[in-house]
């Protein structure tokens, strides 16, 4: 009784973490992923982890799952054949998109646009029109619509999307089109844009709804299949899927709105990192997940991951909330090269991937990668085995890195140091996007690094950003599964409501927000979350009338009732000033109202690590020649499992564990705390005194 299981399916491995709710005891397992049918890997993982814990799978109540099925469907272009119904005159809404051509001046010369997810051949028009205020300008021509649908049926579509102009203001026509479509093509699932994302902007609303239809059949099939298989080994287990915004959705809601799952995998990492860091006492965090081909970063402020109102996968950007995760093409497999014309050192975005992988894997790769540089530098000792059993070949790494050194006129160690520095800089670029560019000073945040390769770079990244400590969580490779297991059920409802402040009042907004919250709560209650356990937060997106941006501010309903809309405009001005250094004496305008509801997460406590003294020598397993900051050093190598709480690991040092390796640089010390984290600080660390940012600009 009372076990919950977190499952993260990655490209190579499926990670599982089993938690006993009462005691907080955890067991983890790692099994190969099975891309053809991910549920096979999940089931074998469940068997493995239950064996380890010595329990019957029937004792598992909840399975929380982060999945990449939706993402992969988009990336590989293997979604459903989608039909689309638009307003007359808008058939090409996806073809034209925002008319945007990436790549700067002249970028069009090399730009080839990908095809829309709903082919034009499967797009029909409905003769109807609603105004921006929601009035019906022209009624729906139902007869013509039925004729068009009959023709569309011949295209053998698997899903249908309806997205009509101004439906955010009045969804009546969309709903009627759905009714007719269900009559004309029974059995074909129909999504309407005013359900999926009732927000202004026709292209964004359409592409989001189409993306939902596009991934829906595959996600639905996967979830149902997994549910059936789970029912085979466990009884009465509830399956939840992690949403892009870091909340959990019920399996049925996930299957209905899969567009909310596009960042499900990475969101698990962020929530897992948060959970671990909170155990160590940190709530303001920069998270860094270093994988084979890319690095994902995010910012957590006061225990809340920053969200954004869009999700990007490949070249598709949809309006769905997600943890604001930025990705940069810099990972262990990123290839270093020196272009002939400029003689610059570039690292990535090309990657050797898992196959052939870095040169040191001895699987045919000859290009120097970041992992090869880490090997040459001595950060990845030969005794370290990647993914359990892969042997590293140092000579092959050296041969590969030498190519870059020769092109630059540098020695092999110096070239490796260059690769390491450049890739760190690329990661810092992504970290700046989520911090400095959003008005957050990275020096006010701790940095937590995970993924197999994260701890190799953590110390260096913290130093570049001034973000201390550098936190190395226990089991950096299974953090996503931990995130899955510790997350709460969450849902939200939003509505576009464009009104100048002079056209509305606090009372009206209060009423709408409460209505949205009631709607959102229904789903949670169905999931068995008690009403008393639900916490609700309210947000509004607003701007100065005439502006294009929108900023999201949290609304406290009690204050809103008491002081009216001023509560919102004051907060907005403050945020505007923080982000852009000025506020304006202009009228405010509401854009979107949103209510988010959340159940309670599990309150598990990790068992504290056994205490030891300051001296970590008992955990030392050897010594290693390494090259740090341009100098040869001898680093002590430690076994992570043997480290005790209170140990102080002085750099230069290398800490090895099953799925990861950590580097502690000279003049830095890793403090092992009782939650099992290693907290790296510079030896001369003084907490910085922060002066309030100087305000300037015209007011």
């Amino acid at each position: 009784m009372s076990y919950r299981l977190g499952v993260d399916v990655g490209g190579t491995f499926t990670d599982l973490l089993l938690v006993h709710e009462k005691s907080g005891q955890t067991w983890s397992a790692k099994v190969p992923s099975t891309p053809a049918d991910q549920s096979v890997g999940v089931l074998s993982g469940i068997k493995r982890v239950c064996e380890r814990a010595g329990i019957d799978p029937k004792q598992i109540d909840h399975v929380m799952h982060g999945t990449t099925v939706a993402t992969n469907t988009v990336l590989t272009g293997t979604g459903a054949r989608c039909g689309l119904v638009t307003t007359k005159g808008y058939r090409q809404v996806l073809q034209i998109a925002r008319s945007y051509v990436p790549g700067g001046l002249g970028g069009w010369i090399i730009y080839n646009k990908s095809l829309p997810m709903a082919p034009l051949a499967c797009t029909i028009e409905a003769d109807e029109r609603v105004s921006a205020k929601g009035d019906v300008v022209r009624p729906l021509d139902e007869k013509a619509l039925r004729a068009s649908l009959k023709k569309l049926k011949l295209q053998k579509i698997e899903a249908l999307t309806v997205s009509l102009i101004n439906s955010f203001a009045n969804p009546a026509h969309e709903r009627r089109v759905r009714e007719i479509a269900l009559e004309e093509m029974p059995g074909t699932p129909v999504s309407i844009s005013s359900d999926v994302v009732p927000e202004m902007q026709e292209y964004e609303r359409t592409v989001t709804t189409v993306a939902n239809s596009y991934v829906r059949p595959r996600v639905d099939r996967y979830v149902r299949n997994l549910k059936t298989k789970l029912a085979g080994v466990a009884s009465d287990v509830k399956l939840h899927i992690l949403r892009s915004d870091g909340g959990l959705a019920s399996a049925s809601s996930a299957a209905e709105y899969p567009v909310n799952l596009l960042m499900s995998g990475p969101a698990g990492g962020v929530t897992g990192a948060l959970w671990v860091a909170v155990q160590a006492g940190f709530r303001n965090l920069l998270t860094v997940d270093v994988g084979g081909t890319s690095t994902d970063v995010a910012l957590i402020q006061g225990g809340q991951p920053r969200l954004r109102r869009e999700t990007t996968v490949g070249d598709v950007t949809v309006r769905a909330s997600s943890v604001d995760i930025r990705s940069v093409g810099a990972g262990g497999g990123s290839i270093a090269h020196v272009p002939e014309l400029t003689k610059a050192l570039r690292v990535g975005p090309q990657s050797a991937g898992a196959d052939p992988g870095p040169a040191a894997y001895n699987r045919g790769g000859t290009e120097p990668t970041v992992s090869d540089a880490n090997i040459v530098l001595g950060y990845l000792p030969e005794m370290q085995k990647l993914g359990g059993d892969m042997v590293l070949n140092r000579e092959l790494a050296q041969t590969a890195v030498k190519k870059v050194g020769d092109a630059l006129g540098l020695g092999v160690k110096q070239a490796a140091q260059g690769i390491y520095n450049i890739v760190n800089e690329n990661m810092v670029g992504a970290l700046r996007l989520v911090s400095v560019e959003q008005g957050y000073d990275p020096r006010d945040y701790a940095l937590i690094a995970f993924g197999g390769a994260g701890p190799l770079h953590a110390n260096a990244l913290s130093r570049l950003l001034g973000s201390w400590p550098s936190i190395i969580p226990p089991g950096p490779g299974v953090l996503c599964a931990l995130g899955d297991a510790t997350t709460a059920v969450r849902d939200e409802r939003a509505r576009t409501y464009v009104r100048k402040f002079s056209e509305t009042n606090g009372k009206e907004i209060d009423k709408i927000l409460k209505g949205l919250a009631a709607d959102a709560s229904k789903g949670l209650e169905v999931e068995g979350v008690k009403k008393s356990e639900i916490t609700t937060s309210y947000q509004v997106d607003l701007r100065y009338h005439g502006q294009g941006l929108r900023l999201t501010v949290e609304v406290n309903l009690a204050e809103l009732q008491k002081k009216g809309l001023k509560v919102i405009s004051d907060k907005f001005d403050e945020e505007h000033e923080r982000l852009f250094t000025f506020a304006l004496p202009l009228e405010h305008e509401l854009v979107t109202l949103r209510s988010a509801v959340q159940g309670q997460g599990i309150k598990i406590k990790r068992r504290p690590l056994a205490a030891g003294g300051g001296d970590p020598r008992a955990a030392a397993v050897g010594k290693q020649k390494a090259f740090m900051e341009g100098k040869d050093v001898i680093a002590v190598v430690y076994d992570r499992v043997k480290l005790k709480a209170g140990n102080k690991v002085r750099g230069p040092a290398i800490v090895m564990e099953m799925d990861s390796t950590s580097v502690i640089l000279p003049k830095h010390t890793g403090h092992v705390d009782k939650s099992g984290c290693i907290l790296i600080y510079p030896d001369n660390f003084k907490a910085p005194k922060r002066v309030a940012a100087k305000k300037s600009g015209h007011k």
Binding site: L341, G546, Q547
Partner: protein, 638 residues
């Protein structure tokens, strides 16, 4: 008198050798800073032209004012020559006068701001940015009068002024400027947004200098310029022949019923140096289609074009400027003399890219693109609504990207970097209009192995009485096809009155009165095709037909026979292709869709509904003044 730079710290920077990795790190940090400037601006600007459409350009330059990252090349040196005053810490400069900065901005709508970045009492860099204001006053809403004949009619022209002195805003000057604009709140917000972006860049430069030291920062920027020069030298040597290449293109008319105007350019290489000579270009126009082309900016265009075509990895900056020489005779359409009107320069500015494609392509036909959507057509609509409130819309629209060696041109897209359309639901929420049609027009993209993109059709339904303006081109000449590709279709504007009458509107016109219920159907033009249309896979043509982007009739231009659903008749297609191959002449590098201008004018009325424009008349004073100026400089005038 050039400006006097005041620096507390007189110590010169020490040039030192910086290792590659450090240069790369500084390069990427500066590149990030430049993108951060965009982000700050987009999010806070009010003018839709900046905010939604991204008509703005940031730059970071080294101590000497050479652009290290950015897009349009540096104008700082020119600016300093034209400013008679001091440059001090905390200063920010503003100008909107193209004539004071030798065309670094090319009309008065563009507000250019410039900030020296000081650290330790010395200038370590410059940040600069300009953006297009929706309105700067003058004779028409939007400040782009088609029939303007001097710059004074365009709107308020701000000479280089110190708008922040030592960090303090010169409120009086700003008040005067804003007072002359129709939408002062927008201008104020955009002004603040640009200021914030400049300060962001300054903060980033200071951070980099703090981390690496001033001398390393200084030397690394130098090395970045040198690195770019090395790369460009190789590109120029490989791709620009020593023999003269020549190309010409046209602006269809000047809004005063005269045209077409000719832009001529020759290109050749002497050693490492690439020379562009615009001799033979028509004299400056008496209307506002003149484009004051800054030589450095043209170098940038040419350089970017080469880089994009031949090696997109190269980072762009001013380093290669010595390797190019640009000769533009004074008194021409591209170097008009003050006070010629400049506001509607967008057509000539765009056409420069077709000229570049034509010039650079001849040496390497495989890399040549078709003529494209080399313009940014404007639509403006303004008036008082039923509540007595002023509304004013300025919108840039898009069209067909040309076919190119790497693939088809997208339909209804922008050639301009980072421009996006304004969502129609947004327009309908804020302006008294409905967009009844928003689609691309089948068959308007030039046929080719790679198809040109289709032009865009927007149906504007007006809900209040008001006035509209249209600025477009390519209604007479076609966007040409390349390497056997066919030209794209022309643009066209049709006004359907609510009483059922129809009226074709000229391509460039202001002050057209509209009533509630009227519908304007505004068609832009298609991109030129690339390569032999008979070599396009029949299946691709069938796909386009099924998608409604090409009609079954239009498929015949590709020698493809199919039904309306795109189902291909293989046998008939084979036969048609054989017949077409046999019946045509040798492959043309350029297909302009006409033989001579006279021949084109001869069929103008029948094809467009308009009488052909007359021969342009030019002003005498400009010719005389240009002659005198040329004599002084020892060069040829128009």
């Amino acid at each position: 008198m050039p400006a006097t730079i005041v620096q507390r710290n007189k110590k010169p920077f020490t040039k030192m050798k910086v290792d590659t990795v450090t240069i790369d790190i500084i390069e990427s940090a500066l590149r990030n800073a430049r993108y951060e400037m965009d982000t700050v601006l987009f999010r806070t600007a009010m003018s839709p032209g900046i905010r939604e459409q991204h008509d703005e350009f940031p730059m970071i330059a080294n101590t000497e004012g050479k652009m290290v990252v950015g897009q349009f090349g540096s104008f700082i040196w020119g600016f300093m020559q034209g400013y008679d005053g001091t440059v001090e810490e905390g200063d920010i400069f503003l100008t909107s006068d193209p004539y004071s900065v030798n065309g670094a901005i090319s009309h008065a709508n563009d507000w250019l701001m410039l900030m020296p970045v000081y650290r330790g009492g010395r200038i370590i860099a410059w940040s600069a940015m300009f953006g297009h204001m929706t309105d700067v006053g003058g004779k028409v809403p939007g400040s782009l009068p088609t029939d303007g004949t001097t710059i004074y009619e365009d709107g308020i022209v701000v000479p280089p002024v110190k708008i922040y002195k030592g960090g303090e805003l010169n409120k009086d000057v700003l008040r005067v400027v804003l007072h002359n604009c129709r939408l002062p709140e927008w201008n104020l917000s955009d002004f603040n947004a640009i200021t914030a972006a400049l300060r962001t860049a300054a903060a980033r430069c200071i951070e980099i200098a703090e981390r690496f030291g001033d001398d390393v920062f200084y030397s690394a920027m130098d090395a970045m310029l040198e690195r770019n020069k090395r790369a460009m030298r190789a590109l120029i040597r490989q791709n620009v022949p020593e023999s003269k290449q020549y190309f010409e293109d046209y602006i269809c008319d000047d809004g005063l019923n005269m045209g077409p105007y000719r832009i001529k350019c020759s290109m050749w290489r002497e050693g490492d140096k690439c020379i562009f000579d615009f001799a033979g270009t028509d004299p400056q126009s008496i209307s506002s289609i003149n484009f004051l082309l800054n030589e450095e900016m043209f170098k940038m265009f040419a350089g970017i074009y080469m880089i994009m075509v031949f090696d997109p990895q190269i980072l762009f900056n001013d380093g290669f400027y010595d390797l190019m020489e640009v000769r533009i005779p004074p008194g021409t359409l591209l170097k008009p003399l003050k006070p010629a009107a400049l506001s509607c320069r967008t057509h000539a500015l765009g056409r420069i890219f077709d000229i570049l494609a034509g010039l650079l392509g001849q040496g390497n036909p495989d890399f040549m693109c078709g003529a494209g959507f080399s313009d940014s057509p404007h639509f403006m609509y303004s008036g008082y609504d039923k509540n007595g409130e002023w509304y004013q819309l300025y919108q840039i629209t898009f069209g067909g990207i040309p076919g190119k060696p790497f693939g088809d041109g997208p339909d209804g897209h922008s050639l301009w970097p980072s421009f996006t359309n304004v969502p129609n639901e947004f327009l309908e929420s804020y302006f008294p209009l409905r967009i009844d049609i928003y689609e691309t027009i089948a068959d308007t993209g030039g046929a080719g192995k790679n198809r040109g993109g289709n032009g865009l059709r927007i149906g504007y339904r007006f809900l209040e009485p008001g006035e509209i303006s249209i600025h477009d081109d390519r209604w007479l000449t076609y966007p040409w096809g390349a390497n056997g590709g066919e030209p794209g279709a022309r643009s066209r504007k049709l006004l359907q009155r609510s009483d059922g009458t129809e009226q074709l509107l000229p391509s460039k016109i202001d002050h057209v009165k509209v009533e509630a219920g009227d519908l304007l159907i505004a068609d832009t033009w298609g991109g030129g095709g690339w390569g032999d249309p008979l070599e396009r896979e029949a299946a691709k043509v069938g796909f386009d037909v099924a998608a409604g982007l090409v009609t079954a009739e239009g498929a015949k231009r590709y020698g493809v026979v199919c039904n309306a659903d795109g189902k291909i008749d293989e046998a008939a297609t084979g036969a048609l292709r054989v017949k077409m191959r046999a019946g045509r002449g040798p492959k043309k590098i350029f297909d302009r869709g006409f033989e001579t201008i006279d021949e084109l004018k001869g069929r103008c009325k029948a094809e467009t509904g308009f009488d052909p424009p007359g021969q342009p008349r030019f002003t005498k004073w400009a010719a005389v003044a240009a002659e005198a100026m040329a004599k002084k400089k020892g060069i040829k005038a128009a």
